[in-house]
């Protein structure tokens, strides 16, 4: 039985990861970290017959992390798995990027991962078991123009993953990154038909990924079977890179 915390729990990927982790074992419990938008997350909680719950979590605030982890530990005793999935993008050319766009994207995508790891590690170290899965992005490895902030943050997540994995490896804790390419979520829904077609032509598989295909990789990394996989970055990109 595993207790998991998935941040960004109201988005397409977060929900798919929640479903996947619930499905991995009938006793698994999943907590979806959410803020004010939580309608979809709450629907999953209802459908999962009590095995899934929402927890208030603003990933950029350390106090919010402390409260969320304290709540989960008071109800379920521990956090076995942390999926740092919460993300934000504010695209634009670096030369004219508002500093607020830089700060916000770095805060959510990179600082949030740092705060989250710090919040869950004491418990994982004490129990000598943990799984941390960081949702990076193909942009971390192959940065497109217009995403200097997002690519920098996600590349930072990959670097953090490598370093932390080595630090806690002998403590029974694995730390890995998943790098999705184009995945059918709300983010892709905003693309114009022309941009969508252009994006599609860069994918050897000639289709975008589905959230459950990314979630399946997270489920594997979160499981006991992936105990010798650490410091890895797994691309889920249909062959782009």
């Amino acid at each position: 039985m595993q207790v998991s915390l998935v941040t960004g729990g109201n988005g397409g990927l977060g929900l798919a990861v929640g479903w996947a982790l619930l499905g991995a074992d009938p006793k698994n419990r999943v907590w979806l970290g959410v803020r004010s938008n939580r309608e979809s997350a709450e629907r999953l909680c209802v459908e999962s017959e009590g095995r899934c719950r929402c927890v208030e979590l603003e990933v950029t605030e350390r106090e919010s992390w402390a409260k969320a982890v304290a709540l989960i530990e008071s109800v379920d005793g521990r956090v076995d798995v942390l999926v740092n999935n919460a993300g934000a993008a504010e695209d634009g050319l670096l030369a004219t990027m508002p500093v607020e766009s830089w700060d916000r994207v770095l805060a959510v995508n990179l600082d949030g991962v740092f705060h989250g790891c710090q919040a869950v590690l004491p418990g994982m170290i004490a129990r000598r078991f943990g799984r941390i899965v960081n949702m990076a992005s193909l942009s971390a490895l192959l940065a497109p123009p217009g995403q200097a902030n997002y690519a920098a943050a996600k590349a930072g997540v990959v670097g953090l993953t490598h370093a932390l994995a080595k630090e806690v490896a002998r403590l029974g804790i694995t730390v890995n990154a998943v790098c999705p390419g184009y995945v059918e979520t709300e983010a892709l829904a905003h693309l114009t038909p022309e941009r969508r077609q252009a994006a599609l032509m860069t994918v050897p598989m000639r289709r975008f990924g589905r959230p459950e295909e990314v979630a399946a990789v997270v489920r594997f990394l979160a499981g006991v079977e992936a105990g010798y996989v650490t410091g890895a970055e797994l691309k889920v990109d249909g062959g782009i890179l």
């Binding site: 004491p122 170290i125 004490a126 630090e167 806690v168 002998r170 403590l171």
Partner: protein, 87 residues
């Protein structure tokens, strides 16, 4: 708990938490835990000890310098446990 029992408990915690290849009795009160004359512990071991001291005794160490002082030996760890504010 008297001082001797506390030190013995801390010795046992060291061996168990860090899976040391020595017995608790072989760890003297003032034997350095780190450094060239120590038990060969590294910073990851220190991290485990910081967590263990918090979980077992409520001793909070948030500062690298304080950690170096507290984790110097069984004696210094026992002193930190004894000195912690009552909850």
């Amino acid at each position: 708990m008297n001082e001797t029992d506390l030190r013995n408990e801390i010795r046992a915690m060291l061996v168990e938490t860090l899976m040391l290849p020595v017995t608790a009795e072989e760890i003297g009160d003032d034997r350095p835990l780190f450094g060239p004359e120590g038990l060969g512990l590294d910073s990851v071991d220190a991290l485990q000890l910081v967590v263990a001291l918090d979980k077992k005794y409520g001793v909070k160490i948030t500062d690298q310098q304080v950690a170096q002082q507290v984790l110097r030996s069984v004696s210094t760890m026992a002193a930190a446990v004894t000195a912690r504010p009552p909850t």
